[in-house]
Amino acid sequence: MYGNDFAASGGELLDQVADAERELRAAADRSVRGGSDEETYFTELVAADQKIEPRDWMPDGYRKTLIRQIAQHAHSEIIGMQPEANWLTRAPTLKRKAILLAKVQDEAGHGLYLYAAAETLGVSRDTLYDLLLAGRQKYSSIFNYPTLSWADVGAIGWLVDGAAIVNQVPLCRCSYGPYARAMIRICKEESFHQRQGYEILYTLAHGTPGQKEMAQDAVDRWWYPSLAMFGPPDTDSTHSAQSMAWKIKRFSNDDLRQRFVDMCAQQATVLGLTIPDPDLRWNPDRGAYDYTAPDYAELMEVIRGNGPCNRARMANRRAAHEDGAWVREAAAAYAAKHAAPAAPTAEAVHA
């Protein structure tokens, strides 16, 4: 079913995730012949769609690729809290405030699931923080764009979360067990994120002329950066081939980008908003929409640290970490002073 198309809204998304979870269990039931050596065994496991687990032997490159990718994903969740948290205190109704708060909280939770998955590969969360704060590990460039209006919260939900879902659902089938399991949990929880964004935009687009203008402006600003979320075009992508062989990555950047465009084109019509691409049109020969590629030079510039908000996002993250140091130290000091007795009683454990 890997080759099938999928739209990523609501129920269909959950079906995809459920399929991935079923396959995970089914693959676990297939026996794999213990290979003559570690490397053969690893290759056989991956070939049989079984999961690699933390203590299994794995090639160094596989481990490094996973650490880099999972850490980048975790960092994206954490930095990604900022553009939306920017509107938490100004959300226009109490209901919207509650929804947004729950969503940003989910992102913190998803960052935690992902850091934990990375830690199973033998790297500590502190090390990953340090790499992020030193600028040596990246996060998704999309979060270096500012949220200038409330409609941006809607556009992030619809476009950014929509693109993230298209990227993430295939990761539920990743060959590394802890990552696949974290992604299954994350995708299930995120099913409401895209819908709430779409609902915000729909309401604005059908509101006052000022609100509709706000919504269109947001879509105009977020469309191309969202397309860029799928990474450089396949011809320039450096990591793809090996990652596909290891079943870390399942589809090429351009395939996923196309899927996203096809999804959005129809959804924009229902919204009554215009995707800012005069060349966007259905191509019956390809069975897909033709579209204008994002400005990859801009993407590279943002990755290099020169997007509108790179510095502010990192400064905020660094400030939170540094301002919290005395709290973390206090808790550690308290724990050391009051270290619990060595073994709890069986009664306590089974209570």
């Binding site: 938490l88 708060l101 913190a108 939170a320 919290g324």
Partner: protein
């Protein structure tokens, strides 16, 4: 039946507390704490919505939760001053939450057993949440108070700063005072913190006389809603 102003006061306490907590989002000392603070903020916000909705019904002039939250000035807000105080650091946040949740738990417990069925229903839900907020803030007060020299000093300073504002809470339900004090005293003692002397007793929140901080808090909260009068969101 309860009075509009009374229910409004409870709702405003919860709403302003939620707004302050939401300001911590993405800047807590550790990610796990970000998740915890968001939970507490969501609880307070949920209680605020129920209380403000009920207050609007009691008033009977067609104001819903959003009209009450977004279209009143600071002089019309009825929250106690404690919840609007800015959180200079994590210690101030925890001191405020400790005193507030210890009080909210007792207050909601009382109301859950009261004659007003609507309010009793809201309070019965909120009392469980307050118990958790109290647990969380007590754990942190103890760890900061009995942690490092720096955290002890910060926590003591926070308790000293916030303490005077607790008098306003207790003044309106004196029968809960002994119980509240015993809860708070227990936490402070375990945290190796000194309970401040009683002296200055700032108040006026229930009458709409607030600190300078509230107007800023509301300006931020209401800016978008007020910029598009009558819009649906």
């Amino acid at each position: 039946m309860s009075g509009f102003e009374f229910v409004l006061g409870l709702g405003d306490d919860a709403l302003v507390a939620a707004q302050r907590l939401a300001q911590w989002c993405a800047r807590a000392p550790e990610l796990e704490e970000d998740v915890a603070l968001a939970n507490i903020a969501l609880d307070q916000l949920g209680a605020a919505r129920l209380l403000l909705g009920y207050a609007g019904e009691l008033e009977g002039e067609g104001r819903d939760e959003d009209a009450l939250a977004y279209l009143r000035t600071d002089r019309e807000y009825r929250n106690v001053l404690l919840v609007e105080l800015p959180d200079r650091d994590f210690a101030v946040l925890m001191a405020k939450l400790l005193f507030l949740s210890a009080w909210q738990r007792l207050r909601y417990e009382d109301l859950a057993a009261g004659d007003d069925e609507r309010l009793a229903g809201i309070a019965a839900k909120a009392v469980k949440e307050s118990a958790y907020h109290l647990d969380h803030s007590a754990l942190w007060t103890v760890r900061l108070g009995d942690g490092t020299d720096e955290s002890h000093a910060r926590m003591q300073r926070a308790v000293d700063e916030v303490w005077p504002y607790t008098h306003e809470l207790l003044a309106e339900a004196p029968h809960l005072r002994a119980n509240w004090l015993s809860t708070v005293d227990g936490v402070l003692a375990e945290a190796t913190l000194r309970r401040p002397d009683d002296g200055w007793r700032p108040g006026g929140g229930r009458d709409g006389r607030h600190t300078e901080a509230l107007s800023y808090l509301l300006a931020e909260m209401q800016v978008l809603h007020r910029a598009y009068p009558g819009a649906r969101w």
